[in-house]
Symmetry: C2
């Protein structure tokens, strides 16, 4: 989600939402406030720190140190945004202001890897979904196709997916009705990768 800058520097160019840090808030409270002020995005399903961007010349004319965040919104939600704000497909972005291109690139990398070893999919998916819908979400987020069969089995085996019992009606072309699922837990859960470092008894990493 980008909005078009009104003022210099980089007027009229698309940029990530953000703003200055207030005296009584930390950076996460700040970015949530910025989003709530400038655009109507209250349904953030996940927010996490990405990185600090602090190159001296990243904003012409003044020194700005930015803490970039990765924020996710479920796919079923289409927040109303002001006229200067719009959603863009991450594969076809317009020219962006400052170093925002690099921030977006880093954000996408973070999303891709966290989709692999966490249940972060819950933040992208609606409350209920079919496996094929989830497959499309994952494919879009990752940038390459994933197998629906595998996705279901892997997520199930990790205990992240549970059936609701309901089914979704088939499409116009027919087909077997798809079973509906939901994510087992809200909030992030990490499935620790690799076992070299797994304690002999099977405890998790750094309790």
């Amino acid at each position: 989600m980008l909005w078009q800058r009104a003022r210099e520097p980089h007027a009229h160019r698309w940029s990530l939402p953000g703003g200055g840090l207030g005296a009584e808030e930390d950076v996460e409270a700040s970015i949530r406030r910025q989003l709530a002020e400038k655009v109507d995005v209250r349904q953030l399903s996940h927010v996490e720190q990405l990185a600090v961007f602090s190159a001296p010349g990243r904003v012409p004319g003044m020194r700005v140190v930015a803490t970039a965040f990765l924020g996710l919104v479920p796919s079923d939600i289409d927040p109303v945004v002001p006229s200067d704000t719009a959603w863009h497909p991450v594969d076809a972005l317009p020219a962006t202001a400052f170093d925002h291109q690099a921030i977006i690139h880093k954000a996408r990398g973070r999303l891709a890897s966290k989709l692999s070893y966490t249940n972060l999919g819950f933040a992208l998916a609606p409350p209920q979904f079919t496996i094929s819908a989830l497959r499309e979400l994952y494919s879009a987020a990752l940038g390459y196709p994933v197998s629906a069969t595998n996705l279901q089995r892997v997520l199930s085996r990790r205990g992240l997916l549970e059936p609701t019992g309901d089914t979704a009606p088939p499409g116009p072309a027919g087909g077997r009705p798809a079973a509906l699922f939901r994510f087992a837990s809200r909030g992030m859960r990490v499935t620790d990768p690799f076992a070299v470092l797994r304690p002999p008894t099977g405890r998790s990493v750094v309790p």
Copy 2:
């Protein structure tokens, strides 16, 4: 590595090295400068951003937003440090200033997980090492014992370990001389965990 604060606030308490951001440097250049100024640590084998700590009251009396870093030094190096600075075992830390306890905790978690799915061990290990020495390093960093057999095979299979051909002399109690190894590449290399999200052809994540 901690040093004892000379001035208020939190005088005489142990704290992480750090300092203000200069006008002509980014945060990474800054932390490297701080380390070079205050203590003689030029052999940093790895430096990465950890997180921003920005709670309004984290430093009493003034507003300080800190970008925390994780920095590693190979185990064979014992940098000379000023009299107010000392290395502490991470399992037996003294009382620390501000929120540095939380920073250290986060750093250790990051180190533990990156040891699992990257070759970050290269930053902890000396140029040459035996498998048992590496095993002790990993065990210490992770906080629980790891199997030497497994460690060798896993790292070898990932192509991270290569034999030097030499052997280390046995200890005072005798024993078979241990073969010496080195890490195949300096610089961080990520072995992407889990394969659900691996493209059908085997391409890596986000080229």
